[in-house]
Symmetry: C2
Subunit: 115 residues, 2 copies
């Protein structure tokens, strides 16, 4: 696996987060849309037909999983705009890779704490 060393999270927990991030038709579409080229929130909302608050939430889920990144930029006419783009992630899902990741899964059913 190839993640930043700084983020202290087991591979198992990370995989689960990625799976959770991708487990949604809207979020799949968002990733697809950003694959072609980066975009800012309001425009992405228009193009995908997703309401802005909703899109905002989905983007955060994707960003939390490390699948997209965002940067705040100022346009020529002085407006603050948040641009999103996909990270070049690669995840291989096989019984073995899952078995491996599962070894480093935190306790049972508990959801990951955002402390």
């Amino acid at each position: 696996m190839s993640r930043n060393d700084a983020d202290a999270e087991s591979d198992g927990d990370h995989l689960l987060k990625v799976l959770g991030a991708l487990n949604n038709p809207h979020r799949l579409r968002i990733v697809a849309a950003l694959t072609h080229d980066r975009n800012y929130v309001s425009r992405l909302a228009r193009e995908t037909g997703i309401s802005r608050p909703l899109l905002h939430m989905h983007l955060q889920r994707l960003e939390a999983a490390g699948l997209v990144t965002s940067t705040l930029e100022l346009s020529d006419d002085g407006k603050a705009m948040r641009f999103y783009e996909v990270t070049p992630f690669v995840y291989q899902l096989t019984p073995d890779s899952i078995a491996l990741a599962t070894e480093t899964l935190s306790r049972s059913g508990q959801r990951e704490e955002t402390r």
Copy 2:
């Protein structure tokens, strides 16, 4: 992708189903447990510490996604036992593969109908 032709489901919808099936710590553990060797429900329940009704539900979710298969067999002492084993699935998750699958996703937010 390498699925059965008989199941009429788009790649996009199928991918979503697989992601949904794997998006759960219990189900990841179940896949891991079955990777080593096949097992029957009650024993798997004991070994994983998951209640039988719950395990039953998780197994069905995995089976519906095609990640595990089951066969009903009769043990020497005449008991009917359902054995589960993993299928040798391989899924590659990248922005491009997702963009591709997304093209064949059924309409927007609607959940897949089981008609």
